[in-house]
Symmetry: C6
Subunit: 198 residues, 6 copies
């Protein structure tokens, strides 16, 4: 499955970690732009809380456009669509927040996403990263998918400390408390191939 996804030539595709009824799993956040009037659409069989995460991420970016080097006119002239593949699986909860934010910043800046990186964490409107549950199962799923680096809220460090170090071999952890850290770690300074001019 990883072969299919590890390609990071497209902006807006970021790997998240999810906790499902059958254990941990990786998921992908995709986002695209199309000429329009600034609407935000969200698909992927998502529940209310996960849709709210997308709204929060979008509003945070609008409110901090300058920080991210985004021309605010983009928000009025393009529609944004965020999708989480595998529509057969219902998905919910706040833990994809930082993944959605990273996807949108990549989309609006056309910056390349770092390879072999996954993340999980709730976002807040003022740019904080909050801890989330299911860390152990998510880490195991990340390993199976050959992820090398993982971004977590620093308050989730205690969950990592409780995992047998054997299982953590080959994984590098980044503990963050603020969205700016997430973006700095996850996005390279290179633009994607055929980057759109926005």
């Amino acid at each position: 499955e990883r072969d299919k996804y590890e390609n990071n030539n497209v902006a807006g595709v970021v790997t998240g970690l999810a906790w499902t009824r059958v254990g941990g799993d990786i998921l992908f956040i995709e986002s695209i732009l199309s000429k329009g009037k600034g609407t935000l659409s969200i698909t992927g069989n998502l529940g209310k809380v996960m849709k709210e995460s997308a709204t929060i991420a979008m509003e945070y970016i609008k409110s901090n456009a300058k920080t991210f080097g985004i021309n605010p006119e983009v928000f009025d002239n393009y529609n944004v669509h965020i999708h989480v593949p595998e529509g057969a699986t219902p998905k919910d909860g706040p833990s994809a927040g930082i993944t959605m934010l990273t996807s949108l910043v990549s989309l609006f800046t056309q910056r390349k996403v770092k390879k072999n990186l996954a993340m999980t964490g709730e976002i807040t409107l003022r740019g904080k990263v909050l801890p989330v549950g299911g860390i152990k199962e998510k880490i195991l799923a990340a390993k199976r998918a050959r992820i090398k680096e993982i971004i977590l809220c620093d308050e989730n460090k205690r969950d990592i400390n409780e995992i047998n170090p054997e299982y953590l071999k080959g994984l590098e952890f980044h503990y963050v408390s603020d969205m700016s850290e997430v973006v700095n770690i996850a996005l390279t300074n290179t633009k994607v191939k055929n980057a759109k001019t926005l």
Copy 2:
């Protein structure tokens, strides 16, 4: 039933494979344009996930109009209606995604759809094709309907390998991982009779 449908003189009609409570079945995706302001309507007694597939297909085409040779002004000046016949049967799930995409590309380009071809697969916003379930039942239904060629996600090849080869006689399979492959296989380079000028 096939007699009625195999005619491919109209753009936007594509054959899909569905998995229902009573086994596999073929279904048809129809789409039409009418002068308007760019709305998308979707009918056919569809569930939430299947409606989302239509949205994803539409957004993907809008975002990649140039690749498909579509003038983006069409999106503002026409309404699109996607319908899945047999309204008495509730339908849901992501597996009609690539069929909907193919229907819409045919509609916007007025290219003829290949005859005796069916397909099943989920689509993602960045143009990937994902595997779907119920492959065995769908293949049997395709044979009954005298389909000759079938498009599947390459990750569904393992499901085909588990089927008794006897049942697969007379069927040609195309395994794909990207939407561009689907469109290349499914759409001919000939326009339909009385093609609309868009």
Copy 3:
């Protein structure tokens, strides 16, 4: 009851055949125009699938206006209201599709509907007529209501063949596979009295 309805001096009133919990029944599709901005409203205690039939009929007509001799500006300057009387009875299913289409074509062309005619069949977006259920009960109801001619999908012919010919005396059947056939059989080339100029 027939006395009341057989009058065909008004455009847009067409007789359909319904299958209800208490057996077959006839129903009437009425549609009217009023000056407006092109909205479509639908009443009559209808379920989701039956409302979708109205949308499909309307979209089909918009997309094929020229074929029906309809000036497409009408769609922008008039509101359409479709109603199915007897609001106390919940109604659903796709089988009123061709009746709704016929009603709308009569309305937009002001052509008179043939007398003593009833019909039942699902419509598709590309103009096909699909078979529907409950044929035996519907035919008996048509006879009780002194209907003389009935339009059915040709795939429903097998259902008629299973009925005791005794019951079919005095009924003429038209088997169709395409909407254009329905319209040709059901609408006369005469305009209704006091036809509106659209």
Copy 4:
């Protein structure tokens, strides 16, 4: 209760007959105009079918404005509000249709409603009056409320014939099949006091 309501100095107030869980009852349809953009609002704790009756009545009037002597510009420049008092009682069903229509015609023409008159009947889009249920209970309620004249669908005559004539003393019945008859019976040719100029 009648004292309060028999006053017919205001346009748009018409007496209907309802059939509730606790027997027959009279109800009042009130409608008013306010400067606006043509919206229709409906209150009174009404179910879906009863709200549809209001829509049907409104659409019928719009489509036949000339017949009723109504300037169609009124529909664009005024909002209409229809209300059925006694909000604590849920109300539904199609039988208030002709009462709503009469209320709206009185409102738009400012013609006075006849005194001591009540009515019950479903309306259709092309102006037909359909029979309704609960006739016996409704008649008894009308008598208790000192109603003198009652408008019914002519197909409800059979229900009246089954009632002990003793109970019908002092009641005059009007049997109708078309809305124009309802309006002719119910509305006087006098305008209400302080009639609005529309």
Copy 5:
């Protein structure tokens, strides 16, 4: 609790009487204006019927602006918000109708509300006041809250007559049948302090 509320220096705050699962209670209707385009918003954990009362009150005032001395342009240039405090308690039913109307007239005219006054009654679109239930419990709640005057529908007089006169000491009742009476009793001819110029 009364201390907090008896202040009538603000326009639009009127005391109503409610009937809840735990007996009678007083409630307050508050309304405010803000510059806008004429929207009406309603909060306070209210059910459908109580929200309809707010709509009816608003429409009645719009339709009778002249009578109340209100410049109708106000309706287009201000948004109205009606709120019923104590959001933890669900509230429903039509009996706050006359209280809402009084609140809105006070708001639009900036007239002071009479002190120590409470009211309960349904309103109709043509300005009638209808009787409501729970009178005994409401009266006792009013006494506990040191209310001195109460407005009721004249048809509720019979409910007062059934109450032990002992309980009614110190209460003055106003029986009304029309909204104009309510407004005349409840609103003084003095404007509130710092009255807004509308």
Copy 6:
């Protein structure tokens, strides 16, 4: 957890006290502005009553902009987003009202919020503060989070009086009855660092 939040360098972040199924807790209200047309969006897995609190707070501020020193044009030119973090927890009830109001006033004035302060109370449209439940549990949660000052409705003083004074050591209480008092206590007269010019 407090370390993360006590920073008050950003406008619009205020600490509230909540009462959940597992006892008292602190929560944070965040709000941000982005260029727009004046919409209000609300997230955080909130129920109907809590969303209404946000609407009430917003309307109150709009109606009293001058008092708060806010240029009313801001309301037309910016969108407001209010969020309550920890999306996994459903939240409802009116007790965050004064916290939301304080957050919004801080946002629109860019005034700094006092440190180590928390609050709980319902708001009304005319600026009153109403008492709320769960005071004991909320106070204990505030202590655990090292809160130093707490704002409560003066009618909640009786709840504090019932708590063992031992538990209240190190806490200072402010009892209020009006929103203006809340704002005066909670907001400093200093602007936040990098205050936006609105």
